[in-house]
Every structure is written in structure tokens, then in C-alpha cells.
Subunit: 397 residues, 2 copies
């Protein structure tokens, strides 16, 4: 008999079975996928991006093909420092590092700030990718309900290694954190010393109103001179251009950039120089900015189509707010006994896929809500998906 | 007064100052860098690679620009399974995953196999990137001197979570692990159940003799049927094509691939689809195989040039073996009191940079050897670098 193999690390046993359910969804014919957070491929100017890829290699072969500096290409760091600077926020290259997608930034933050069982103050419900990134450290979570009338940020932050928020159109709820709440979060970070992670993948996806100031911007205004504040800002190219390049960035105090760089060295050494060069050229050439109006028009119309279909078919079952931006509608069942993990299995049998609330809860016990994506599918598919969802909800278990 | 910030994780305090010395090396004018493991940019067929990059986006926009499956593009996994299969080794897509460079594979292995303080049996001296990757878990190391007459693999493996070796031209020593040693390592893995990590970035860089069979190949031959053996093989595109794409791969038992995929989900979500598509096309078009003879001729001549220069200028100070492949010569001082950390500082003052042995030792106490790279510089620069190194070694501290 073969000897037994060494045990895998404990955290691998702590995932739920929703991932397995999603994987099996790939086998369902004509499935309408409203679960993911995927962009619509029609937004990509393919010929322009192909030309950028070719010129990145041909005109900058050493940057594109060699190892990059661990913290990123200096020219891209400079460009991002300039792009995020404001009259009150002074940024240099030392405030910026490049990551392999926004996800890697979450992972690196866990590595540099979490010992086994460390405490995180996290906006609840919480982005599942952040939960995935931090799970190997077996952290404790203190959920923050930013919208509650009695929410006290300083109390929430006490003893935490960091606080985590997605202020623009939170994943999963689509909720926008208002200006007064932003100021209160920043004041608590300054009072307690706790790092405040501003995860901002959807910061450009405002469909109705004007952009609110970033926590990063507010932190810069609070103190003159080169930025060294408590806000750690995370950005990504995935929503502004395309996820396939796996380019993200962190803007933070130099001591945090140095720590994250040390963690990145042992994580993937550096981010692809080719993809960094493409990101640099996509911003410098104005391509990213030219793409934005089309993206906003497309996604706004799809949000409206989804909400109209929901009003028609789901108003008796769920409550939701129409989001002012982002990629998702968050709907909570009127029936407090609803189990949306069970609902997911029924929806798959009806040819539609949504994300149940349990995956956004560190304890996995929140079972009453669902996250519905509106960016991937055209209006008629969204409407058909909602009809299927309503039929699934009405079907016996 | 501002409140103090939460402490960074302990492992960040455990790096030595050699990295800082290297960073300062960038300021030295006319420095001859013999420290890194960098390819010579002249090996890159820039126009061909630019064309591959453009066609990856233009002809496969969804693969290149969207999120990829966590474990990689199916077509690339299939190609690698076919490329590594032998008459005795049956591989399918389920045995293969794509990583963001070879470095990420080391990181993921640590995540899935190491709890705090876990035991690693590691070929000594040990690749510093592996030490970097595993440091956050505070592992214990049992050094393996594979070349020692009394080396007992089964005793070395006992109680370890995994064993680690670079059998082809080890980094840092350039040593080739012989066939009998490979068979002994595999037998110990099979007897103990311990995972055997075969890190093989230099497996194509044989300058003299014929390639020895991989541990993976030997493991496949040992048992018929789909591969599920103890060898976890790590490959990379960095030496065969270019490091800027950050493409690596793992070939292993399906249960290991599944665990590593779960770890990758929370690490960087997926590897760039663009770069995976380029890797696929570089292999499928034959470009990678066409590059190899030129790479071998160039690096063989540089190895010979370095060893000739060392024989001329360093024979009184160091002992070394001429490596049959890879990127490095490992030289050990005749003087047992030599401190190569101190030597590094002197070499920088003389305009040359090498890597001291301390960085390849988990304890940081091995101070008698140096690693010299021969792939980056042309013969006359290698000769000048060795002259500078000899002068630095003779200079007062």
C-alpha cells in the first residue's frame, strides 16, 4: 500500500460548495450567466489593442520581454502618480506599485499585515475575492454595516490590522458610500492608525451622478506634503480596458509600498512587462479615456433593462435598490426564510445563474440575498434571465 | 501625535541586507552585473514575438482579453500535457496548470502544503526565490546535500511536507543531479509519500551532454495509467522564450493541481490570457524550438569564456566546477574565513556584482561561496568582470 501523503493546509478545507456548483454550471446548455462580474467583450477595440500589443514588443523589447522591477515599470508608476494626483494630493513614483491584477493587491495586503488569526474590519457583505485572498491567514472579521445609523467607524477599527471598503458600488451590493461616510471612515483611520483599504475597481463606472472624491484624495487633502496617509488605494485595468492583461496598482504611503514590494518578490517576482507597457500606452494614448463613454452608455442601459425586468417579475419576492453604478444589483428576499444557496441550484435547473449571498459572508451564514450582474448580457437576455429566475424561485425545491 | 500603525507581519523583518546592496548597485556607473540570472536580450526574435502578440489579441480576443480559467487556457494545458508526455508517462489537461511565472508555482506550493513552521527538505544551497516564497510561513528547513556520499533521501524526507530540488543545473550551484541520484530521490518520495518538487527552469539548457530523464518522467514510468505520482514538476517560459510574459506551469497529480488552483484563485485569480495565448503560439508554431540552438550556442560560448577568465585570474582564490548547463558558476573560496557578503561590497566598489552564498542559505550563515552568471554579458565583459572581481578580492576591506 502506498504511504499517505502529507496533509494539505487547513484553509483548503474551509471553502463552501458554491464554487463547485458554479463549475458544474459550465455544463448547462443555453445558461444565462448573471453570476460573474464579467465585462461585455463588445467594449474592446480589438484592432487598437492588437496594435498596442505589437508596438509594446517591437518598440520596447527590453521593457516588454525582460524581467521588470518588482514594483513595476517606472514610467507606468509615474503615469499613475500623475493620473491620481489632485491639487491637494501629492504623489510620486514611490507611492505607486503595479500588481498582477487587483486581486494580487488584496493577497499582498494579507501577507504584509496579517499574522494567523489577525482582525479585519470589513464592509459587510464583503467581496468574495478578498475573503479568498485572506483565508489562508485564518483571519477574524468584524463586519462593518456602513449604512447603519449607529455605525461607529472608530469602534469598528479598534484593534484591527486594517479596514476594508469598496466605496464605489460595492461588490456585492452596488452601494455607493456617501461623502459623509467617507469622511467618517478617514477620520477613524487617522484616529486609530489603522490602514484603510480603498478597493476601487468600479470607480469609473458612475452612470448617473458625479464622482465622489476618493478616500485617497480626502486623505491627501487632510495633510500637505508627499502622501503618507492611512488610505491604501487599489485600482485595476480590468474594468477600464480589459481583464486579460492582469494589471492592477496600489497607491499608498511609501512604507506600505515597500512592504508590499517585498511580498510581491516572493509571490510572482514581477508583473508582465508586456502587459505593463500595454497599460502605459493605453493610458498615454488616450485609448482608455476614449473607451469610457461607450462603456458607460452600454452598462447604464443594461442596468436599466435589468431593473425594469426585475420590477416586472420579481417585485413580489425581492427588494432591491437601483445602483448608481458598478456591475451588480443586490436583491434581498422578502421571505426571511429564503435560502439562496438552495435557490442557486434551482436556477441552474431553469437555465440561469446568480450569486448567493453566502459567498460574501466570512461565516457563510447569510442566505437571504442574491447578486445579479448586468454588464455581460444584452437587455433581452437579462429579461429572459429574470423570467427564469422568477420561475425557479416559484418552483418546488 | 499620530497614533502608531499596526505592525507589519513578522516575516518582513527576516530578510538580509543583500537585497538593499543590490538595489544600490543600480547607481554604480559601468557596473558589470554578474549577479542576476538574466537572459541576453539578443536571443529574442523581436519581430516574431511582436507578430505573435498582435495575432493573440486580433485572432483570439476572448482568450486574450477576458478572464481566463483559474488553471489556465485549456488549449495551452493540452499542449503542455502532450509536450511532456512520454511512452511511459500519460498526461492529460487535469495534470497541468498555468502559473504567473515559475515563481508563482513555488508560492502556491507553500500555500497548499505549509502550515506555520512546516518542514521542508531542500537541496542545499537553495534557490533564493524559493526561500522568498516560503518565508511568510516561517518554515523549518532540512538541508539536503545530494552529492554527499552518505546522503540518505528517505531519512531526509521523513516528516517533511515536501522535498525540493533543481535537478538540472541547480540555482545556485549549476550542479547536475545524476540519474542514480534521481532514482534514489524518487524512490524516497514513493516510500515516504512526501511530495517531490522538481523545479526545472534550466531543463533545456544542456551545453554538453544529453538530457537526463526528468524526475516526472521516471515517476510516470514507475506506474502505468494516468499520472498521479509524487513528483510536482515546475516549468517556465522565461528561459525558453522570454521572462516578460510571466508564464510558468505545473505538471502534477490531479489532486495537487486542484489544491494549487484553489490557492491561485485567491492569489491572482488567473494568469494573463494574452500571455498564455502567446506561449501557446510560441510552442505550436515551433518558434520556441527554433530559438533553442542559438541560445545554446551563445550561452555555451559564454560559459567557456567565463571559466577561462576564472582559470586565469581566480584559480588561487576559489575552487569551482565547470557546469554542463544552466546559467551559473558556483565558486567556493579556498580560504575558509572568506566572507562573501563583505566581498560583495568590495566588488561593487570595483564595478562588478556577484551573488554571495548567504542568500541561498535559510540561516544566512554560509559566507564562503559566490554565484557568477554567464548568460547576460559578452565574453570580453565577462573577462573584465573577473579581473575586477580578482582585484576586489585582493583589496583591503
Amino acid at each position: 500500500m502506498a504511504p499517505s501523503r502529507p496533509a494539505f493546509a487547513r484553509w483548503l478545507g474551509q471553502t463552501n460548495d458554491v464554487t463547485q456548483i458554479f463549475l458544474s454550471a459550465g455544463q448547462v446548455p443555453d445558461l444565462i450567466n448573471m453570476a460573474g462580474g464579467l465585462p461585455d467583450p463588445s467594449i474592446w477595440p480589438v484592432d487598437d489593442l492588437a496594435a498596442l500589443a505589437a508596438s509594446a514588443v517591437r518598440d520596447h523589447p527590453t521593457e516588454a520581454l525582460a524581467y521588470s522591477p518588482i514594483d513595476g515599470l517606472p514610467a507606468l508608476r509615474d503615469l499613475l502618480a500623475a493620473r491620481y494626483a489632485t491639487p491637494g494630493l501629492t504623489l510620486t513614483r514611490d507611492n505607486v506599485m503595479i500588481t498582477s491584477g487587483g486581486m494580487q493587491a488584496l493577497d499582498l495586503i494579507g501577507r504584509v499585515l496579517l499574522e494567523e488569526g489577525g482582525l479585519i474590519a470589513a464592509q459587510a457583505p464583503t467581496y468574495l475575492g478578498a475573503l479568498d485572498a485572506w483565508r489562508p491567514h485564518h483571519p477574524r472579521f468584524r463586519p462593518m454595516r456602513l449604512e447603519a445609523n449607529d455605525f461607529d467607524p472608530a469602534a469598528a477599527f479598534a484593534g484591527a490590522q486594517f479596514a476594508y471598503t469598496v466605496p464605489n458600488f460595492s461588490n456585492p451590493t452596488g452601494r455607493l458610500v456617501g461623502l459623509a461616510q467617507r469622511q467618517a471612515l478617514l477620520a477613524a483611520a487617522q484616529a486609530t492608525g489603522v490602514w484603510l483599504i480603498e478597493d476601487d475597481p468600479y470607480g469609473t463606472l458612475y452612470y448617473d451622478g458625479a464622482q465622489l472624491p476618493r478616500l485617497l484624495t480626502l486623505a491627501g487633502q487632510a495633510k500637505p506634503g508627499p502622501y503618507d496617509g492611512p488610505v491604501v488605494y487599489l485600482g485595476t485595468l480590468s474594468k477600464e480596458v480589459a481583464p486579460g492583461f492582469r494589471i492592477g496598482w496600489v497607491i499608498a504611503a511609501p512604507e506600505m509600498i515597500a512592504a508590499l514590494t517585498a511580498a510581491k518578490q516572493g509571490s510572482d517576482m514581477c508583473t508582465s512587462g508586456l502587459n505593463q507597457r500595454i497599460a502605459l500606452d493605453a493610458f498615454a494614448s488616450g485609448l482608455a479615456d476614449r473607451m469610457l463613454p461607450g462603456i458607460l452608455d452600454l452598462y447604464r442601459s443594461r442596468r436599466d433593462a435589468l431593473c425594469a425586468a426585475m420590477a416586472r417579475d420579481l417585485a413580489g419576492l425581492f427588494d432591491w435598490d437601483k445602483p448608481e453604478g458598478g456591475m451588480f444589483v443586490w436583491a434581498t428576499a422578502k421571505d426571511p426564510g429564503m435560502d439562496t444557496d438552495a435557490l442557486l441550484k434551482k436556477t441552474l435547473a431553469h437555465g440561469v445563474c446568480i450569486t448567493p449571498s453566502s459567498v460574501f459572508d466570512p461565516e457563510g451564514t447569510h442566505r437571504r440575498s442574491i447578486r445579479i450582474n448586468f454588464t455581460l448580457n444584452p437587455p433581452e437576455r437579462l429579461a429572459e434571465g429574470v423570467r427564469r429566475l422568477a420561475r425557479a424561485a416559484a418552483a418546488p425545491a
